[in-house]
Symmetry: C2
Subunit: 392 residues, 2 copies
DNA sequence: TTCGTTTGTCCAGAGACTTGACAAAGCGAA
DNA sequence: TTCGCTTTGTCAAGTCTCTGGACAAACGAA
């Protein structure tokens, strides 16, 4: 037998069957609670016996709990079950460009306690130190079992090994952040790109029924997309899927921090918009000022912002044309621009792609904008540790 | 329990475990033969006992066969196994724009017998009749058990139901081609978009080790892509993934048959190139003439063709930027343009996307061009019926 | 109160993988 | 040639998990 053997998936065993069905029960309860054991049996196709057994071990694990009895439909009244919200706690981190945020999150996605630490120009090891501070601060005072730590950060991130391969503003390269924290805290750690995390947050906590395919575009200081296909986060061969911010839009104007010119990020990101608006109207120096000027219809500003929306729409048009995905969400500070801006994005996207595909696609704002990365990182951790949403 | 219950995947059962492991063995042998039972045990992680049992049923089914003994490595010499090439035969069809092709294919992807029927303007029911003729002609004279019929056709195709939702030049809309043929011939039938099929052909028969992600762009009369992500064909919510031919390239010149303007297809397809070249050099009236003129460096023609390559490169740049996929293959008649053309595509694609992503991506010609759709349709059928390559 | 229905659980049974053991088959050294 | 060691393929018993049938508990309605 030669050395470079074919790579095969894991074999199927009894234990895998068990785990899979346990996750099936867990996922049903996560998607919509409460359910009785009999409900779950009908829903999953398993027998009442099997469900009873599975539920037993899940209750022993503290992951689900009984919450009283439901209304009878002519027979014995069912015992209702739900995910035990505080069966586990998670720590979710958002390593943003201006500040690091962290929160303790429960299994329902409730944020129990959150902290923000300004970055103030720190990078490299100093930034790692800040991460440690954040986790230390969140870990005190919580006697609930900790499922692990989920981290979202800008840049190219290898989630399978927990390595930050490249993050411009933090000045990290090939940083094994995951293993480092795992060793320090002794709990599982997952690290993912912030836009990818955002997509998972919307999918896991805010979309019912869960779409198979979903694209979430996060427009903040940068522009990035999280792409969920067949119910799973798609990261690409090099973990760089969704890097829409650095695709060339043709017009080579402003230089981009990636070293090239004409990237979408130099046109449509908040950073670029604030700069462009500031050049016209010097009083505008930050996002707040820009948004206010846009909403107040200040001459010139409106056009700048809507032009950017148009370019973003072109990028979305490509996404729709290439992937034919029906759900596209926009999250981040751009949500403040409101429906005029969104309308421009929609028009532009629809104009640049085959009608049959575009007409079915919904382009909307996401549900959360501030904590979306924290929640998404938590969602990824839940998915990896508990199997919510992951279809084997 | 409310009516709109959450959609859950199938529960795991013993039988599924069995099927899964059987497919694991089958897939190992399909990827690289021959292997002994002991090899397979090491490769899959199953015990020798289990593998022996699985192999037994597969041999009884006629899907694999023993092919003598291998060299001993100090102990008893192993009995070598491989897929029985003619354990099943398949019929693969390519419903092209100018002609319908069909072939009998075996499990190794060998084409045993093929036919071509010119379309001669037929569409609608007449085209369906032609499909039936093709199958009838291929079915005679083959006593090997028929696994089924695989069909690749241009247009938007719902593979899950076997429906051609929309095919311009065949004038088909919502045609339930799959069920129709299933009823007539009593064997499983799969229908897929031709570019999607092409991608499956390259993945299934010509790429070792099998890449996780692969994009195959078929440039012929139209332009379409087949997108394989996480080892599976990705079709999108409306089965229209990969419709790169109808994304707007900005410059709104020629009207497209889809009703819009500036589509990639009006610039980079063979149909468009022949038309553009014909306008400059009236002696050019078909693909052959165009290719000859390009290779002979006829004034003006070269520029037209390379301009098209550049535009195609932009589209590939978007694909790479959005999906970060490392393997991109080009198939179809454009392969005749050779390395100059390919070089131009590569340059353009690399220029329009983040260096970190582009540098890892290989853009090459595919292995087959003529029979790629026939083989791909067969591959899809094999995948669905035998589970080769599909990871549950 | 009684009957029918629904729920949750217990017990036996079946399917598939694993473990341990063993015979068959081959290489190599004494 | 013979013996010992290794590898291969198979057999029997054991374990894990799902399934099917049966039963008691719980509830509404007559």
């Amino acid at each position: 037998m030669s050395a470079n053997a074919t790579v095969l998936p894991e074999r199927a065993t009894h234990q895998q069957t068990r785990t899979f069905n346990q996750q099936l029960v867990l996922r049903a309860l996560h998607d919509r609670s409460p359910f009785s054991r009999a409900d779950l049996a009908r829903l999953t196709g398993l027998t009442r016996t099997s469900v009873g057994d599975l539920v037993g071990t899940l209750i022993d694990d503290g992951l689900i709990e009984e919450v009283g009895r439901g209304r009878s439909s002519g027979g014995r009244s069912p015992i209702l079950l739900r995910i035990a919200p505080d069966g586990r706690h998670l720590i979710g981190l958002d390593l943003g460009e201006a500040r690091f945020s962290g929160a303790v999150v429960n299994l329902r996605g409730d944020i129990l306690h959150s902290i923000h630490l300004p970055l103030e120009g720190r990078d490299g090891d100093a930034a790692v130190e800040l991460v440690v501070q954040l986790v230390d601060a969140l870990r005190t005072d919580d006697r609930c079992p900790l499922l692990g730590i989920g981290i979202g950060a800008p840049g190219i991130i290898d989630t399978s090994t927990g390595t930050v391969r490249w993050s411009v503003n933090l000045n990290w390269a090939e940083l094994r952040l995951g293993p480092l924290l795992e060793q320090r805290y002794g709990v599982p750690v997952v690290v993912a790109n912030d836009s990818h995390a955002a997509a998972l947050a919307e999918l896991t906590f805010f979309r019912r029924p869960r779409p198979n395919n979903l694209i979430v575009i996060k427009v903040g200081r940068g522009v990035g997309a999280g792409i969920i296909l067949n119910g799973q986060l798609f990261q690409g061969d090099g973990h760089g899927a969704g890097e829409v911010g650095h695709v060339s839009m043709g017009s080579a104007d402003a230089p981009c921090r990636c070293g090239r010119e004409g990237c979408l990020e130099t046109i449509a990101s908040m950073r670029a918009l604030v700069a462009a608006a500031g050049a016209v109207e010097p009083t505008i120096t930050d996002e707040g000022g820009l948004v206010a000027a846009f909403l107040a219809d200040v001459t010139g500003i409106r056009r700048i912002v809507l032009d950017a929306a148009r370019q973003l729409g072109v990028a979305i048009g490509w996404l729709i044309g290439l992937l034919n995905v029906r759900h596209v969400l926009l999250v981040g500070p751009v949500a403040q621009f409101g429906d005029d801006w969104l309308g421009e994005v929609r028009r532009s996207a629809r104009a640049s792609v085959l009608g049959l595909l575009a007409s079915d696609t919904q382009i909307e704002f996401g549900h959360v904008h501030d904590d979306v990365v924290v929640l998404g990182a938590s969602a990824l951790l839940m998915e990896q540790q508990l199997g919510l949403g992951l279809v084997r």
